[in-house]
Amino acid sequence: MTGEVLDAKGLNCPLPIVKARKALKSVPVGGTLEVHATDPGSVADFGAFCRATGNELVESTQHDNVYRFVIKHLR
Protein backbone atom coordinates (compact mmCIF):
# COMPACT_ATOMS: atom_id res chain seq x y z
CA MET A 1 0.00 0.00 0.00
CA THR A 2 1.79 3.09 -1.18
CA GLY A 3 0.02 6.35 -0.65
CA GLU A 4 0.93 9.96 -0.10
CA VAL A 5 2.64 10.96 3.15
CA LEU A 6 1.98 14.25 4.93
CA ASP A 7 4.36 15.45 7.61
CA ALA A 8 2.42 17.56 10.12
CA LYS A 9 4.85 17.05 13.01
CA GLY A 10 5.19 20.06 15.30
CA LEU A 11 1.98 21.65 14.03
CA ASN A 12 -1.01 22.05 16.28
CA CYS A 13 -4.74 22.11 15.68
CA PRO A 14 -6.18 23.09 13.22
CA LEU A 15 -3.20 22.91 10.83
CA PRO A 16 -2.79 19.11 10.60
CA ILE A 17 -6.45 18.90 9.57
CA VAL A 18 -6.18 21.87 7.18
CA LYS A 19 -3.20 20.25 5.46
CA ALA A 20 -4.70 16.76 5.46
CA ARG A 21 -7.92 18.03 3.93
CA LYS A 22 -5.94 19.70 1.18
CA ALA A 23 -3.66 16.72 0.59
CA LEU A 24 -6.60 14.32 0.47
CA LYS A 25 -8.01 16.20 -2.52
CA SER A 26 -5.10 15.00 -4.67
CA VAL A 27 -5.39 11.41 -3.49
CA PRO A 28 -7.50 9.30 -5.88
CA VAL A 29 -10.62 7.72 -4.41
CA GLY A 30 -9.58 4.39 -2.93
CA GLY A 31 -6.04 5.66 -2.30
CA THR A 32 -4.57 6.41 1.11
CA LEU A 33 -3.00 9.37 2.85
CA GLU A 34 -0.59 8.81 5.71
CA VAL A 35 -0.26 11.67 8.21
CA HIS A 36 2.43 12.06 10.86
CA ALA A 37 1.63 14.46 13.72
CA THR A 38 2.78 15.29 17.22
CA ASP A 39 -0.20 17.28 18.54
CA PRO A 40 -1.94 15.11 21.19
CA GLY A 41 -5.23 16.68 20.10
CA SER A 42 -4.80 15.24 16.61
CA VAL A 43 -5.97 11.78 17.73
CA ALA A 44 -9.46 13.08 18.44
CA ASP A 45 -9.27 15.46 15.48
CA PHE A 46 -8.51 12.81 12.85
CA GLY A 47 -11.15 10.49 14.30
CA ALA A 48 -13.73 13.28 14.04
CA PHE A 49 -12.48 14.34 10.61
CA CYS A 50 -12.87 10.88 9.07
CA ARG A 51 -16.21 10.34 10.76
CA ALA A 52 -17.59 13.68 9.58
CA THR A 53 -16.19 13.58 6.04
CA GLY A 54 -17.05 9.94 5.36
CA ASN A 55 -13.48 8.77 4.85
CA GLU A 56 -12.03 5.75 6.57
CA LEU A 57 -9.44 5.99 9.31
CA VAL A 58 -7.55 2.79 8.56
CA GLU A 59 -4.92 3.29 11.21
CA SER A 60 -4.32 5.50 14.25
CA THR A 61 -1.16 4.58 16.13
CA GLN A 62 1.55 6.17 18.23
CA HIS A 63 5.31 5.53 18.21
CA ASP A 64 7.75 7.65 20.25
CA ASN A 65 5.44 10.67 20.56
CA VAL A 66 4.61 10.64 16.85
CA TYR A 67 1.04 9.83 15.85
CA ARG A 68 0.49 8.04 12.58
CA PHE A 69 -2.83 8.17 10.83
CA VAL A 70 -3.72 6.38 7.62
CA ILE A 71 -6.80 7.74 5.89
CA LYS A 72 -8.47 5.94 3.01
CA HIS A 73 -10.04 8.41 0.61
CA LEU A 74 -13.58 7.21 0.09
CA ARG A 75 -15.29 10.35 -1.13
Binding site: N12, L15, G41, T53
Partner: protein, 367 residues
Amino acid sequence: MDPLATTTIVGIGGFVVGLVFGATVQRTNFCTMGAISDLVLMGDQRRFRSWLLAIAVAILGTHGLHFSGLIDIDKSIYLTSNLGWLGAIIGGVMFGFGMTLTGGCGSKTMARLGAGNLKSLIVALVLGVVAYMTLRGILALGRVPIETASNIDLKAHGLANQSIGDMVGALLGLPGSTLRLVLAIGAAAAFLLYCFKDADFRRSTTNVVGGLIVGLAPVAGWAVTGILGNDDFNPTPLVSVTFVAPLGESLQYLMTFTGSTINFGIAVVGGVIVGSFLMAIATGTFRIESFADRDDLVRHLGGGALMGAGGVLALGCTIGQGITGMSTLALGSVLAWLSIIAGGYLGMKYLEEGSFGGALRAVFQRD
Protein backbone atom coordinates in the same frame (compact mmCIF):
# COMPACT_ATOMS: atom_id res chain seq x y z
CA MET B 1 -7.78 34.21 64.73
CA ASP B 2 -7.69 36.87 62.07
CA PRO B 3 -10.36 36.39 59.43
CA LEU B 4 -8.97 35.95 55.94
CA ALA B 5 -8.69 39.16 53.95
CA THR B 6 -11.33 39.45 51.22
CA THR B 7 -8.63 39.60 48.53
CA THR B 8 -7.24 36.28 49.81
CA ILE B 9 -10.68 34.64 49.77
CA VAL B 10 -11.34 35.92 46.24
CA GLY B 11 -7.86 34.76 45.19
CA ILE B 12 -8.42 31.25 46.54
CA GLY B 13 -11.89 31.13 44.97
CA GLY B 14 -10.54 32.26 41.60
CA PHE B 15 -7.73 29.72 41.77
CA VAL B 16 -10.16 26.88 42.44
CA VAL B 17 -12.43 27.98 39.57
CA GLY B 18 -9.37 28.12 37.29
CA LEU B 19 -8.14 24.73 38.50
CA VAL B 20 -11.41 23.01 37.61
CA PHE B 21 -11.63 24.92 34.32
CA GLY B 22 -8.06 24.03 33.30
CA ALA B 23 -8.42 20.36 34.21
CA THR B 24 -11.70 20.18 32.28
CA VAL B 25 -10.30 21.84 29.15
CA GLN B 26 -7.31 19.50 29.19
CA ARG B 27 -9.43 16.39 29.76
CA THR B 28 -12.40 17.07 27.48
CA ASN B 29 -10.61 18.98 24.71
CA PHE B 30 -13.16 21.80 25.09
CA CYS B 31 -11.94 24.42 22.65
CA THR B 32 -13.75 27.38 21.13
CA MET B 33 -11.27 27.60 18.25
CA GLY B 34 -11.63 23.84 17.76
CA ALA B 35 -15.40 24.31 17.71
CA ILE B 36 -15.11 26.65 14.73
CA SER B 37 -12.44 24.52 13.09
CA ASP B 38 -14.54 21.33 13.35
CA LEU B 39 -17.51 23.18 11.96
CA VAL B 40 -15.71 24.83 9.03
CA LEU B 41 -13.24 22.11 8.10
CA MET B 42 -15.25 18.96 8.74
CA GLY B 43 -18.87 19.93 9.27
CA ASP B 44 -18.69 18.31 12.74
CA GLN B 45 -20.91 20.37 15.05
CA ARG B 46 -20.29 18.58 18.36
CA ARG B 47 -17.70 20.94 19.81
CA PHE B 48 -19.70 23.96 18.68
CA ARG B 49 -22.72 22.54 20.47
CA SER B 50 -20.53 22.07 23.53
CA TRP B 51 -19.75 25.81 23.46
CA LEU B 52 -23.47 26.63 23.11
CA LEU B 53 -24.23 24.30 26.01
CA ALA B 54 -21.69 26.21 28.11
CA ILE B 55 -23.38 29.50 27.15
CA ALA B 56 -26.83 28.12 28.04
CA VAL B 57 -25.64 26.88 31.44
CA ALA B 58 -23.93 30.21 32.10
CA ILE B 59 -27.06 32.20 31.13
CA LEU B 60 -29.25 30.16 33.47
CA GLY B 61 -26.78 30.23 36.38
CA THR B 62 -25.98 33.92 36.02
CA HIS B 63 -29.62 34.96 35.83
CA GLY B 64 -30.42 32.62 38.72
CA LEU B 65 -27.87 34.45 40.88
CA HIS B 66 -29.11 37.83 39.65
CA PHE B 67 -32.81 37.26 40.16
CA SER B 68 -32.30 35.66 43.57
CA GLY B 69 -30.62 38.91 44.60
CA LEU B 70 -27.24 37.33 45.36
CA ILE B 71 -25.40 39.40 42.76
CA ASP B 72 -26.26 42.42 40.63
CA ILE B 73 -25.01 41.74 37.08
CA ASP B 74 -25.72 45.34 36.13
CA LYS B 75 -22.46 46.11 37.94
CA SER B 76 -20.40 44.00 35.53
CA ILE B 77 -18.53 45.64 32.64
CA TYR B 78 -20.64 43.79 30.10
CA LEU B 79 -23.84 45.66 30.95
CA THR B 80 -22.58 49.26 31.16
CA SER B 81 -24.51 51.98 29.34
CA ASN B 82 -21.44 52.61 27.18
CA LEU B 83 -21.95 50.44 24.07
CA GLY B 84 -18.64 49.89 22.30
CA TRP B 85 -20.09 48.33 19.18
CA LEU B 86 -17.20 49.07 16.81
CA GLY B 87 -14.60 47.87 19.29
CA ALA B 88 -16.60 44.66 19.75
CA ILE B 89 -16.69 44.07 16.00
CA ILE B 90 -13.08 45.00 15.11
CA GLY B 91 -11.64 43.47 18.27
CA GLY B 92 -13.78 40.36 17.93
CA VAL B 93 -12.66 39.71 14.36
CA MET B 94 -9.02 40.30 15.36
CA PHE B 95 -9.32 37.91 18.27
CA GLY B 96 -11.05 35.22 16.23
CA PHE B 97 -8.49 35.47 13.44
CA GLY B 98 -5.61 35.45 15.93
CA MET B 99 -6.79 32.34 17.74
CA THR B 100 -6.78 30.29 14.54
CA LEU B 101 -3.14 31.26 13.97
CA THR B 102 -2.15 30.07 17.45
CA GLY B 103 -4.49 27.08 17.42
CA GLY B 104 -6.46 28.18 20.45
CA CYS B 105 -7.89 31.11 22.41
CA GLY B 106 -6.49 32.62 25.61
CA SER B 107 -7.81 29.91 27.91
CA LYS B 108 -6.65 27.13 25.59
CA THR B 109 -3.21 28.78 25.51
CA MET B 110 -3.09 28.60 29.33
CA ALA B 111 -4.22 24.97 29.31
CA ARG B 112 -1.66 24.03 26.65
CA LEU B 113 1.05 25.82 28.61
CA GLY B 114 0.17 23.72 31.66
CA ALA B 115 0.43 20.60 29.52
CA GLY B 116 3.98 21.49 28.48
CA ASN B 117 3.52 23.36 25.20
CA LEU B 118 6.24 26.01 25.06
CA LYS B 119 4.70 27.64 21.99
CA SER B 120 1.87 28.58 24.32
CA LEU B 121 4.35 30.19 26.72
CA ILE B 122 5.42 32.53 23.90
CA VAL B 123 1.79 33.18 22.92
CA ALA B 124 0.91 33.92 26.56
CA LEU B 125 3.78 36.40 26.90
CA VAL B 126 2.95 38.20 23.64
CA LEU B 127 -0.78 38.17 24.34
CA GLY B 128 -0.32 39.52 27.86
CA VAL B 129 2.13 42.27 26.88
CA VAL B 130 0.10 43.41 23.85
CA ALA B 131 -3.10 43.33 25.91
CA TYR B 132 -1.50 45.60 28.51
CA MET B 133 -0.09 47.86 25.79
CA THR B 134 -3.61 48.21 24.37
CA LEU B 135 -5.12 48.73 27.81
CA ARG B 136 -2.64 51.21 29.26
CA GLY B 137 0.35 51.48 26.93
CA ILE B 138 1.23 52.84 23.53
CA LEU B 139 -1.44 50.88 21.67
CA ALA B 140 -4.10 52.61 23.78
CA LEU B 141 -3.37 55.57 21.49
CA GLY B 142 -5.02 53.56 18.74
CA ARG B 143 -7.81 52.12 20.87
CA VAL B 144 -9.07 55.32 22.49
CA PRO B 145 -9.95 57.20 19.22
CA ILE B 146 -11.92 54.16 17.99
CA GLU B 147 -13.90 54.09 21.23
CA THR B 148 -14.40 57.86 21.40
CA ALA B 149 -15.61 58.00 17.81
CA SER B 150 -18.00 55.07 17.96
CA ASN B 151 -19.10 54.25 21.50
CA ILE B 152 -22.77 55.00 22.07
CA ASP B 153 -23.86 56.40 25.42
CA LEU B 154 -27.16 54.60 25.91
CA LYS B 155 -28.13 56.90 28.79
CA ALA B 156 -28.53 59.68 26.22
CA HIS B 157 -31.18 57.48 24.60
CA GLY B 158 -33.01 56.84 27.84
CA LEU B 159 -31.52 53.37 28.41
CA ALA B 160 -29.80 52.44 31.65
CA ASN B 161 -27.64 49.64 30.24
CA GLN B 162 -27.04 47.34 27.26
CA SER B 163 -29.06 44.37 28.50
CA ILE B 164 -30.99 43.16 25.44
CA GLY B 165 -33.98 42.42 27.68
CA ASP B 166 -34.00 45.95 29.09
CA MET B 167 -33.58 47.49 25.64
CA VAL B 168 -36.43 45.52 24.10
CA GLY B 169 -38.50 46.31 27.18
CA ALA B 170 -37.89 50.04 26.73
CA LEU B 171 -38.87 49.77 23.05
CA LEU B 172 -42.10 47.92 23.82
CA GLY B 173 -42.90 49.82 27.00
CA LEU B 174 -42.71 46.63 29.08
CA PRO B 175 -40.79 46.08 32.33
CA GLY B 176 -37.15 45.30 31.52
CA SER B 177 -36.66 42.76 34.28
CA THR B 178 -39.54 40.60 33.05
CA LEU B 179 -38.22 40.63 29.50
CA ARG B 180 -34.74 39.88 30.77
CA LEU B 181 -36.01 36.76 32.51
CA VAL B 182 -38.06 35.68 29.50
CA LEU B 183 -35.12 36.27 27.17
CA ALA B 184 -32.69 34.40 29.42
CA ILE B 185 -34.96 31.36 29.68
CA GLY B 186 -35.83 31.54 25.99
CA ALA B 187 -32.22 31.85 24.80
CA ALA B 188 -30.98 29.11 27.11
CA ALA B 189 -33.84 26.81 26.07
CA ALA B 190 -33.14 27.44 22.38
CA PHE B 191 -29.43 26.69 22.82
CA LEU B 192 -30.16 23.56 24.88
CA LEU B 193 -32.65 22.34 22.31
CA TYR B 194 -30.15 22.90 19.49
CA CYS B 195 -27.50 20.98 21.46
CA PHE B 196 -29.51 18.00 22.61
CA LYS B 197 -31.67 17.41 19.56
CA ASP B 198 -28.51 16.03 18.00
CA ALA B 199 -27.98 12.34 18.82
CA ASP B 200 -24.27 12.62 17.99
CA PHE B 201 -23.84 15.30 20.62
CA ARG B 202 -25.92 13.46 23.22
CA ARG B 203 -23.71 10.39 22.78
CA SER B 204 -20.51 12.43 23.06
CA THR B 205 -20.07 12.44 26.85
CA THR B 206 -16.83 14.43 26.81
CA ASN B 207 -18.46 17.26 24.87
CA VAL B 208 -21.52 17.29 27.15
CA VAL B 209 -19.49 17.20 30.37
CA GLY B 210 -16.99 19.75 29.00
CA GLY B 211 -19.75 22.21 28.08
CA LEU B 212 -21.50 21.78 31.44
CA ILE B 213 -18.42 22.40 33.58
CA VAL B 214 -17.06 25.22 31.42
CA GLY B 215 -20.51 26.86 31.58
CA LEU B 216 -20.58 26.63 35.37
CA ALA B 217 -17.19 28.36 35.67
CA PRO B 218 -18.46 31.92 34.96
CA VAL B 219 -21.36 31.32 37.36
CA ALA B 220 -18.93 30.22 40.08
CA GLY B 221 -16.82 33.27 39.21
CA TRP B 222 -19.73 35.67 39.79
CA ALA B 223 -20.38 33.93 43.11
CA VAL B 224 -16.74 34.32 44.18
CA THR B 225 -16.47 38.04 43.43
CA GLY B 226 -20.11 38.99 44.06
CA ILE B 227 -20.88 36.94 47.17
CA LEU B 228 -17.59 35.88 48.81
CA GLY B 229 -15.93 39.14 47.76
CA ASN B 230 -18.80 41.33 48.85
CA ASP B 231 -16.98 43.17 51.64
CA ASP B 232 -18.94 46.10 53.08
CA PHE B 233 -15.92 48.37 53.30
CA ASN B 234 -13.94 47.23 50.32
CA PRO B 235 -16.23 45.46 47.83
CA THR B 236 -14.57 43.38 45.10
CA PRO B 237 -15.46 44.49 41.55
CA LEU B 238 -18.02 42.09 40.08
CA VAL B 239 -16.03 40.14 37.50
CA SER B 240 -15.91 36.56 36.32
CA VAL B 241 -13.89 34.23 34.13
CA THR B 242 -12.08 36.01 31.28
CA PHE B 243 -8.52 35.78 30.02
CA VAL B 244 -7.12 38.67 27.99
CA ALA B 245 -6.72 41.52 30.49
CA PRO B 246 -5.99 39.07 33.35
CA LEU B 247 -3.10 37.61 31.34
CA GLY B 248 -1.56 41.08 31.10
CA GLU B 249 -2.23 41.65 34.79
CA SER B 250 -0.71 38.26 35.62
CA LEU B 251 2.56 39.20 33.92
CA GLN B 252 2.59 42.52 35.77
CA TYR B 253 1.75 40.71 39.01
CA LEU B 254 4.69 38.34 38.59
CA MET B 255 7.07 41.23 37.83
CA THR B 256 5.93 43.48 40.69
CA PHE B 257 4.95 40.72 43.12
CA THR B 258 6.15 42.32 46.38
CA GLY B 259 4.13 45.46 45.75
CA SER B 260 1.06 43.86 44.15
CA THR B 261 -2.17 42.29 45.32
CA ILE B 262 -3.74 39.30 43.63
CA ASN B 263 -7.15 39.69 42.01
CA PHE B 264 -9.73 37.23 40.73
CA GLY B 265 -8.54 37.19 37.11
CA ILE B 266 -4.90 36.57 37.97
CA ALA B 267 -5.89 33.73 40.30
CA VAL B 268 -7.98 32.13 37.54
CA VAL B 269 -5.05 32.28 35.10
CA GLY B 270 -2.80 30.57 37.67
CA GLY B 271 -5.48 27.99 38.42
CA VAL B 272 -6.00 27.06 34.76
CA ILE B 273 -2.28 26.44 34.22
CA VAL B 274 -1.97 24.32 37.37
CA GLY B 275 -5.26 22.46 36.73
CA SER B 276 -4.23 21.57 33.21
CA PHE B 277 -0.73 20.56 34.38
CA LEU B 278 -2.16 18.19 37.00
CA MET B 279 -4.61 16.68 34.51
CA ALA B 280 -1.86 16.28 31.90
CA ILE B 281 0.33 14.46 34.43
CA ALA B 282 -2.59 12.30 35.61
CA THR B 283 -3.53 11.28 32.07
CA GLY B 284 0.02 10.93 30.75
CA THR B 285 -0.42 13.73 28.20
CA PHE B 286 2.21 16.14 29.53
CA ARG B 287 4.68 16.81 26.76
CA ILE B 288 7.23 19.54 26.08
CA GLU B 289 6.49 20.95 22.64
CA SER B 290 8.27 23.58 20.61
CA PHE B 291 7.95 25.38 17.28
CA ALA B 292 8.02 23.32 14.09
CA ASP B 293 9.71 25.98 11.96
CA ARG B 294 10.02 29.71 11.29
CA ASP B 295 6.50 30.02 9.88
CA ASP B 296 5.12 28.33 12.98
CA LEU B 297 6.82 30.93 15.20
CA VAL B 298 5.60 33.82 13.02
CA ARG B 299 2.02 32.50 13.16
CA HIS B 300 2.12 32.22 16.94
CA LEU B 301 3.62 35.69 17.44
CA GLY B 302 1.05 37.25 15.12
CA GLY B 303 -1.84 35.34 16.63
CA GLY B 304 -0.83 36.25 20.19
CA ALA B 305 -0.59 39.94 19.29
CA LEU B 306 -3.96 39.92 17.49
CA MET B 307 -5.61 38.20 20.45
CA GLY B 308 -4.05 40.64 22.93
CA ALA B 309 -5.11 43.81 21.10
CA GLY B 310 -8.40 42.40 19.80
CA GLY B 311 -9.38 40.97 23.16
CA VAL B 312 -8.96 44.32 24.89
CA LEU B 313 -10.81 46.18 22.13
CA ALA B 314 -13.69 43.67 22.28
CA LEU B 315 -13.65 43.61 26.12
CA GLY B 316 -13.00 39.90 26.16
CA CYS B 317 -12.19 36.61 24.49
CA THR B 318 -14.14 33.53 23.46
CA ILE B 319 -14.63 32.82 27.16
CA GLY B 320 -14.78 36.39 28.56
CA GLN B 321 -17.28 37.65 25.99
CA GLY B 322 -18.23 34.31 24.41
CA ILE B 323 -19.48 32.72 27.65
CA THR B 324 -19.22 35.11 30.62
CA GLY B 325 -20.40 38.18 28.67
CA MET B 326 -23.04 36.13 26.83
CA SER B 327 -24.34 34.94 30.21
CA THR B 328 -25.47 38.53 30.92
CA LEU B 329 -27.17 38.79 27.50
CA ALA B 330 -25.54 42.14 26.84
CA LEU B 331 -25.77 43.52 23.31
CA GLY B 332 -22.01 44.22 23.19
CA SER B 333 -21.24 40.64 24.19
CA VAL B 334 -23.44 39.21 21.44
CA LEU B 335 -21.72 41.50 18.90
CA ALA B 336 -18.27 40.49 20.16
CA TRP B 337 -19.18 36.78 20.16
CA LEU B 338 -20.50 36.82 16.59
CA SER B 339 -17.47 38.85 15.45
CA ILE B 340 -15.08 36.37 17.06
CA ILE B 341 -16.80 33.53 15.19
CA ALA B 342 -16.58 35.52 11.93
CA GLY B 343 -12.88 36.19 12.58
CA GLY B 344 -12.32 32.53 13.33
CA TYR B 345 -13.99 31.55 10.06
CA LEU B 346 -11.82 34.03 8.15
CA GLY B 347 -8.72 32.72 9.95
CA MET B 348 -9.58 29.15 8.99
CA LYS B 349 -9.85 30.19 5.35
CA TYR B 350 -6.54 32.05 5.67
CA LEU B 351 -4.83 28.88 6.88
CA GLU B 352 -6.36 26.93 4.01
CA GLU B 353 -5.60 29.44 1.27
CA GLY B 354 -2.26 30.65 2.61
CA SER B 355 -2.94 34.35 2.04
CA PHE B 356 -5.32 37.00 3.31
CA GLY B 357 -6.55 37.83 -0.19
CA GLY B 358 -7.16 34.16 -0.86
CA ALA B 359 -9.08 33.89 2.40
CA LEU B 360 -11.33 36.82 1.48
CA ARG B 361 -11.97 35.31 -1.95
CA ALA B 362 -12.80 31.97 -0.33
CA VAL B 363 -15.24 33.67 2.06
CA PHE B 364 -17.08 35.58 -0.64
CA GLN B 365 -16.91 33.13 -3.55
CA ARG B 366 -18.91 30.10 -2.58
CA ASP B 367 -18.23 27.05 -4.66
